[in-house]
């Protein structure tokens, strides 16, 4: 038994390591046939790793429902691959595979942590992918999406205000809304509206007056999130605005001024709010406050440290000792049971996604899609930095989910939606180039 767990542990690491390597290697390949070959290889690795993970769990848990869950996941992945390929032959296949790989790892770890949550997660992912089938089409065929800047902004703020008034509190933040028995986290969707809003408004122009107006709108969003005590959300919104502003105006002054303001704002928040100070305190010395404030982060560090570079093996550690391990702290669970090298590969795959996403921005000739994809890239990248940085004690923990891996319906749906919008922009960009615009995607890729 132990032997099998050990072998599968190393096999999963080797598989993910190979996936990571090839996902970067593929940037260099221009030969279409070679690319096709590599994509098939990546697909095989995803399914193989997904199988080994579930196999390792099954021999230990012996729950027949697990086989059922595994099979539905395989079918789901297969349908996603076939359907999206059939409907959108031009979509970024690497981005889609990265998503599936992260989802597969998420499914394995969630199944290990909480079977029920895994089932729920699979169902939500299935719904999200089918619902989002139409999204790239909409993005491709609706050029008027850039006209509703104010509508995006106002509806986002209204939604956040509703949550502030009628929302329920969970883990200290009032950012949940209960509708007909389903609890959703609206800020996960507002953040997409928010990026749409900023992109649409900058599309109209970047004069100082407009910059001020957009800043006020963004500030309102951030302020409401701060009032909801959703620190991570507030930070993500803020940083996204600053970088979109910078990209839209190409004025470094805005970037520096924004970051300086961010520091000032953080300092004010630290002085005013107890819950901010507690987070900082727990970050500075988690072991010193292990009884209360530092408990979660200490347990997270214990998990990561005890797991070591190669991990304890699936189901062999004690990740459930970390509070909220299935969502905000799932990275520690991965690190404990699958090991430090595995965890680093996960970070690399996220980096790969980030590069793919921001590459889409670079390819865009028009302001709106360019800013849209840039905003999403920054939002995605920064969320990963906050999430992982928080659980490894690099920065104070802000309670942010790890996209596509953490359990949580709102988070995964909004991430899938976001990537499908990016796919739409990607494909639209390709078609426009074919219409006679300059440069090819391949040369762009080479830059990175």
């Amino acid at each position: 038994m132990r032997l099998i767990i050990e072998i599968t542990k190393y096999m999963m690491l080797i598989l993910l390591g190979n996936y990571t390597y090839f996902s970067f290697r593929i940037f260099r390949y221009k030969n279409k046939q070679k690319q096709d070959h590599l994509y098939s290889l990546l697909t095989i690795i995803i399914f193989f790793l997904h199988f080994i993970g579930h196999f390792t769990l099954y021999i230990q848990i012996r729950n027949d429902k697990l086989i059922l869950l595994y099979c539905s996941e395989v079918i789901l992945f297969a349908i996603i691959l076939l359907l999206y390929r059939a409907i959108y032959p031009k979509l970024s296949r690497l981005l889609l595979r990265n998503m599936l790989m992260l989802l597969a790892v998420g499914f394995i770890v969630l199944t290990r942590l909480s079977f029920d949550k895994a089932v729920r997660q699979v169902a939500i992912v299935a719904i999200a992918f089918f619902a989002c089938l139409i999204v790239p089409y909409i993005i491709k065929s609706c050029p008027w999406l850039n006209r509703f800047g104010w509508i995006y902004g106002v509806s986002g703020i209204v939604l956040l205000l509703v949550v502030l008034i009628a929302g329920t509190t969970s883990h200290g933040a009032t950012n949940w809304l209960n509708i007909a028995g389903i609890s959703i986290q609206p800020s996960e969707f507002v953040k997409l509206l928010y990026v749409f809003c900023i992109a649409a408004m900058f599309h109209e122009g970047t004069d100082f007056k407009r910059v001020c107006a957009i800043a006020v709108m963004a500030g309102a969003n951030v302020l409401i999130l701060v009032m909801q005590k959703d620190l991570g959300g507030a930070l993500i919104f803020f940083v996204t605005f600053i970088f979109m502003l910078f990209a839209a105006t190409a004025k470094p002054l805005y970037l520096f001024a924004g970051l300086a303001m961010g520091c000032f704002g953080s300092f004010i928040a630290y002085s005013i709010f107890d819950h901010v100070r507690v987070r900082v305190m727990a970050w500075q010395n988690p072991l010193g406050f292990i009884e209360n404030e530092g408990y979660q982060i200490s347990q997270s560090l214990f998990a990561i440290g005890t797991g070591g570079w190669f991990g304890m093996g699936l189901n062999q550690g004690l990740p459930t000792s970390i509070p909220v391990v299935d969502s905000d702290f799932i990275f520690s669970a991965i690190s404990e049971e699958l090991g430090g090298f595995f965890a680093l590969c996960i970070i690399l795959i996220y980096i790969n996604c980030f590069i793919l996403a921001i590459n889409i921005a670079i390819e865009q000739k028009n302001t709106f899609p360019r800013l849209l994809s840039l905003g999403f890239s920054v939002m995605f990248g920064f969320q990963i930095i906050l999430s992982i940085g928080g659980v490894i004690k690099f920065i104070p923990s802000t309670g942010v989910t790890l996209p596509l891996i953490s359990s949580g319906g709102s988070s995964v749906v909004s991430t899938v939606l976001m990537f499908m919008i990016l796919q739409g922009i990607y494909m639209k960009g390709k078609t426009e180039k074919k219409d006679g615009l300059t440069e090819t995607a391949a040369t762009e890729m080479e830059v990175l």
Binding site: Q299, L301, F302, G305, L318
Partner: protein
């Protein structure tokens, strides 16, 4: 399709964004790697880390060794794979080494995760993992000297009490005895009896670090230091002792009501003249005295990684009466001290006024003997100057040559120290001795308390003698 003329777009700004974020990602990965390599070992060795059972399934608990290479604790694995923790020295090291059954204590507790971590060569570990063989855990090498421990343990005899022997220049603990002790090998059988503790002997208490006693006359060391600080002309101090002193319906006696006659500070100290020191106590600035004692670690926990009690000193100008000040000056009153702290004070004097952090773990090595982590000596604080330490050394030497510790006069080495007899409400006094040797170039410091035995000179000094004899053979 947007028909508006798009402004020419500069890609540079997006590239900057890319580099900023890639930089952040690299930082995250770098910090993660740094944590794994440098921080994780220290972090996971916490009593709050609940993963010991998980680790115990794949690692055979490591050994605890003495500085002279003797095994203090080891795990014996039977042919059928069952494990038994053995303590070859039985009750000798029970409090320092601790136990691993019926709850963890001592080093077994504080070094738990390290003992359950295996740092043997990765290939061997990999092979063991694959073949489901448990890897041997890391070994803890302590600073303890088995011979000194044995001598101290036996010298204390059947008395309750404690002996601490340490190296003043480093803070290394060489011996640490607490009696009554118990045999950790037999803990399962003894448990009920020990927990019930019918004679209130508290066998689980490590008296060296957790026992709180009135310091008795050993406290005159700090009283003298305070007096010297407040009175630069302390050499002119003179007192005529007639065996007792009255103050407001309170009488303080010298031992056996003996009249010491005309004494200066040095002689008051050597003869442990209570009336002289009580009179000194009347004159002291209590707030300064309070600060001095807190500089010597009173009212705070000791800088040692094992369970310990904070010694207490409560005298304060606004709250304390003259009576209390007089009692406190001779080590009675409300002051309480642990034997370890009293030993640390003696060691500080021996180490030119520099207090070292006491420590028990010298280094950690893998089962193959490779060094995993070395603990070096650390300065805790410098609560007095070299001159002050020198002064006190001379006074403590006088105790041996011309005072209450005369039994140490004929030793091979020239010792220095201070005796104490801490009176209790009922029963015999606790016998104290703190000191070090050789007085001009100290190598070891001792702190001895013998509960309810009698005077320090009669009951604690002989133990010190045996320890010095054993060390300076």
């Amino acid at each position: 399709m947007n028909r508006k003329e798009e402004p020419k777009f500069d890609k540079k700004s997006i590239y900057s964004v890319v580099y900023i974020f890639l930089g952040l990602f690299v930082l995250i990965m770098g910090y993660y790697t740094y944590f794994m390599i440098f921080r994780s070992n220290d972090t996971i060795n916490s009593t709050y880390n609940k993963r010991q059972e998980v680790l115990a399934q794949r690692v055979v608990r490591g050994e605890i060794l003495s500085a002279d290479g003797q095994i203090l604790a080891k795990t014996v694995v039977d042919e059928d794979g069952s494990e038994l923790r053995e303590y070859p020295y039985n009750e000798l090291f029970a409090h320092v080494v601790g136990r691993s059954s019926k709850g963890l204590s001592g080093l077994e507790e504080t070094e738990n995760i390290r003992l359950l971590t295996s740092n043997i060569n990765p290939l061997g570990k990999f092979y063991n993992d694959l073949s489901s063989i448990k890897s041997p855990g890391n070994n803890i090498v302590t600073t303890m000297d088995t011979e000194l421990q044995q001598v101290a343990f036996e010298a204390l005899g059947d008395y309750r009490g404690s002996v601490v022997v340490m190296e003043p220049s480093t803070g290394k603990i060489l011996a640490m005895v607490s009696k009554p002790s118990y045999d950790p090998n037999e803990i399962d059988a003894l448990w009920t009896e020990l927990v019930e503790d019918e004679n209130s002997e508290s066998p689980f208490l490590n008296r060296a670090t957790q026992g709180l006693y009135p310091p008795g006359s050993t406290f005159k060391i700090l009283t003298s230091l305070e007096y010297i600080r407040e009175n630069p002309s302390y050499l002119d101090y003179e007192y005529d002792c007639d065996g007792s002193v009255d103050y407001d319906n309170m009488v303080i006696h010298c031992n056996h009501n003996k009249a010491h006659g005309k004494v200066d500070l040095k002689l008051s100290f050597a003869k442990s003249c209570n009336t002289s020191f009580a009179t000194i106590g009347k004159s002291l600035d209590l707030d300064r005295f309070h600060t001095l004692c807190e500089d010597f670690q009173f009212n705070s926990n000791l800088p040692i990684g094992m369970a310990n009690s904070a010694s207490s000193f409560s005298l304060q100008k606004s709250e304390s009466s003259v009576k209390e000040a007089m009692q406190t000056a001779i080590g009675q009153g409300k002051t309480l001290i642990t034997p370890l702290l009293n030993g640390m004070i003696a060691a500080t004097i021996a180490n030119d006024g520099v207090m070292m952090k006491p420590y028990v773990v010298d280094h950690i090595e893998s089962a193959e003997g490779n060094l995993i982590k070395k603990y070096s000596s650390q300065v805790n604080s410098t609560p007095m100057t070299v001159e002050e330490a020198d002064n006190l050394t001379k006074m403590m030497r006088e105790v041996v040559t011309n005072g209450t510790a005369k039994d140490l006069k004929d030793l091979k080495v020239k010792a220095a120290g201070k005796t104490g007899s801490a009176d209790q409400n009922e029963g015999k006094a606790h016998a104290w001795f703190v000191g070090f040797a050789p007085y001009d170039n100290p190598e070891i410091a001792v702190s001895i308390i013998v509960e309810s035995a009698g005077t320090g000179g009669d009951y604690a000094v002989p133990i010190a003698k045996e320890i010095f004899d054993a060390y300076f053979k």
